[in-house]
Amino acid sequence: MKRYSDLEFLRLSKWQKFLYRLASFFAGIPVAIKKFFVGIGRFFANIGTTIGSEFADLVTTFKNGDWKTRVSYLIMGFGSAARGQWLRGLLFFVFEAVFIIYMVVAGGYWLSMLPSLGKVGPGEVYNEVLDTYVYQYNDNSFKILLYGVLTIFFIIAFIYTWRQNIKQNKIAEGILASGKPLRSGKDDLKSMVDDQFHKTLLALPLTGILVFTVLPIVFMILVAFTNYDGTHDGYYSNLFTWVGLKNFNTMLSWSGGGNVYSATFGEILTWTLIWAFFATFTNYFLGVFVAMMINKKGIKLKKVWRTVLVMTIAIPQFISLLYVSKMFAKNGIVNGLLMNLGWIKQALPFWEDPTWARVTVILVNIWIGIPYLMLIATGILMNIPADLYESSRIDGANPWQQFTKITLPYMLFITGPYLLTSFTGNMNNFNVIYLLTGGAPTNAAASSAAGTAGYTNLLITWLFKITTGAEAQYYLASVVGIMVFVVVALISLVVYNVLPSIKNEEDFQ
């Protein structure tokens, strides 16, 4: 693609400028993707060099270190304790002891079972005392997978701590060699609220994230490679085991004609993207519009209009959504009123007809979303410097031109990242869809696939359905979850790398 210089670009006609921008946008996508992979490559290269230098450092530290340092390679914290840093030494040592005991008592077992996810399933076993067969539970695939992952986490943590322990020795040697005193345990404690305060503050939140987000996500990613479902729950019914890429194959292969899963997946993904697009942009533009109406000079009772809208934010969504859902039901108020008025003879199929349902969902979402957007837009509109409007008026702009040339670009520029998060948020907008339609109306063509898919199902509500259905195909849910991640990540990646306004966001602030 031909690149124009700034001055050449200025000579283009409006239409050419537009085409040029469009072309550079699409030309930017491969570049962004390439950049991403180069970034990943560099990331791993960095990791490689880091590990290399860490090993080199380990060796030199051992060679140059004194005997206290060398003993620390085996007994963690020995060097620290021997140099008078009792607290550190003790903590290192306790960590090592806990680790070894854990590995011996449990960790080793979990790790050894991880490749098979359990050998002996539940079954009947002859009991001599009762002289009968009793049903007995044996290995627990679920626990093996969970604790196996946990044990790996623990091992990584141990290696890191061991490395820190050796680093501490090296640092301490250096400090002593320069003739300065080491920090005492008291100093260490003091630094917890001062120069190391960030570690204190982060300890709790990060532990929570690690245990309740990272661990489950790693676990669920692994589940995608197993046959874990309602009939293979790993303990009570059957063990589950590794199946490789089979589940991805089921979900994504378009080859086999009439592959119900991939067709359903494609259909739901399409609707999810359509939904996210409309849900985001209708709300956005209408929200800005409403905010501008309320903020217009000469409009009275500004506070009242705003309060009416804001109040609807306060009411828990499950109430408003469920109620609205029933209002539009076949025998609901809306149909009832319309029939009483004689405007219609038959109830309108708000939730029964696929197109009606999809449009209604988007309309109700506007009703839900406008108050938020009105608030956001009001805040930003008030921050647009008044002199921009004044100078544009002197330059001869009419109100419409002011809107398109000043207000809208300003808004879009500032809210660029918000639009992105709001788009991905809408892709995963469980509440609105689930409470309004629950995914209905049923898509007959796709309904034989896992957990009856409907026309308004998003990937996320489908995922939920899969896990709650009678068969509870967790492995499929996990594949869907991973696909959601891939889609969201791809969109974010492209938008972040291609849209200049988002890249420059921080400069603008």
């Binding site: 560099r42 960095n46 001062d194 120069d195």
Partner: protein, 382 residues
């Protein structure tokens, strides 16, 4: 009350955030300075020269990448700011918005767990000196810029700190207030009688306040010296251009030597370098050739036509009141600035100083500066 000693202090910023390869920017290169007890040292330089970074390293707000900072003989590299016993005034005052003026000033004393009676004593005393007693119960946002500045100074002065650091304290004030506060800082300094390190980008502040001035550029020290020293004996082109306003005129010209005497020949007019300057130049014994001649605007004299002056055309005449600044250009198009006290101008001369008229300039050798064209070093003082 203490001396501050910086030895080979270095500041390296690296984008070492765990995501990218390490990129380094060296903000301060081997900085060596011994600030004596009770001395007032000013760091001055254009923005980005590393002056604030150096000050912040003394304060402990930036890590020291290399070298040592000593306060009162103790290496403080690894000490937190709170343990260094320093006081600091920030550019944007950094007053705690949720506290009254009294609480702002008392904050550090309360952290030291000083008895409230003594705190009261000290705070009111400081407020008296700074003339902010009536505002003690106000919040910072109810104060004017000058008053906020005083509170910030008050907050720093109630502590018996060893060193008093000021980071561009006057740059947020308007010109008039700035002059007033500058005078007050001089008085304050006499009262406090402690070590001051003061950062500014304004050479006037540096000249009027400092016992010694440290002129910096791109992380390097260009010259350290008293105001007179840096003004009269600039070590290099940068210092010569930075100190003094309007800026020194720089003219590329030939340095020649005839019969032991040096001559410069700007714009084809030959001036002898005689007197004390000539002696100094002879002592330095530079080789002849193209050099950069520096002449301050106030050291250029107007002469009449035919007196051997450099012929120039007047472009702009700025009337400053006590003096006029004449922007002229020579026959080869070089622009020069001349500063002439109005006192010495006759009415006839004033009438003549109009755009487009010819003027003739003469340089005095005793206030000329000679710089090497390549190294930009002063031929005599470097």
């Amino acid at each position: 009350m203490a001396n501050v000693k910086l030895t080979n202090v270095k500041k390296i910023y690296s984008s070492n955030d765990g995501t990218h390869k390490k990129d380094y920017v060296v903000a301060v290169h081997d900085f060596n300075l011994d600030i004596k007890d009770k001395e007032f040292v000013v760091f001055v330089g254009p923005s980005g020269c590393g002056k604030s970074t150096t000050l912040r390293m003394i304060a402990g707000l930036e890590d020291i990448s290399d070298g040592t900072v000593e306060i009162d003989g103790e290496v403080v590299n690894d000490l937190q700011p709170k343990d260094r016993n320093i006081a600091m005034v920030f550019q944007n005052y950094a007053l705690y918005p949720h506290m009254t003026v009294y609480d702002n000033i008392a904050f550090s004393l309360r952290l030291q767990k000083m008895p409230e009676d003594e705190i009261y004593e000290r705070v009111t005393n400081a407020a008296e000196i700074l003339g902010i007693t009536e505002y003690l119960m106000r919040k910072p946002r109810a104060l004017s810029g000058g008053q906020r500045q005083r509170v910030a100074i008050g907050r720093a002065m109630v502590r018996d700190s060893k060193v008093f650091l000021m980071d561009e304290p006057l740059s947020n004030l308007d010109a008039k207030l700035r002059n007033q506060m500058r005078a007050e800082i001089i008085l304050l300094r006499q009262k406090l009688n402690t070590t001051f390190v003061y950062v500014t980008h304004d050479q006037t502040e540096a000249m009027t306040l400092g016992d010694r001035i440290v002129i910096m550029k791109d992380g390097y020290i260009m010259q350290v010296g008293s105001p007179t020293e840096v003004f009269e004996r600039p070590k290099n082109l940068f210092v010569a251009g930075f100190i003094g306003a309007p800026q020194m005129n720089f003219i590329e010209c030939e340095l020649t030597r005839e019969g032991g005497e040096y001559f410069v020949k700007p714009f084809g007019v030959k001036f002898p370098v005689d007197g004390a300057k000539g002696q100094e130049l002879k002592k330095a014994n530079p080789s002849t050739g193209t050099i950069v001649l520096g002449v301050r605007p106030e050291h250029i004299v107007l002469t009449d036509a035919g007196q051997g002056g450099i012929p120039c055309t007047l472009e702009v005449n700025e009337m400053m009141g006590s003096e006029v600044h004449l922007h002229v250009y020579t026959e080869d198009g070089t622009r020069l600035v001349v500063r002439v006290p109005t006192m010495n101008l006759s009415q006839e001369q004033r009438d003549h100083l109009k755009q487009g008229n010819k003027v003739y300039l003469k340089f005095e050798s005793k206030v000329m500066h000679f710089f090497n064209k390549e190294t930009e070093q002063n031929l005599i003082y470097a």
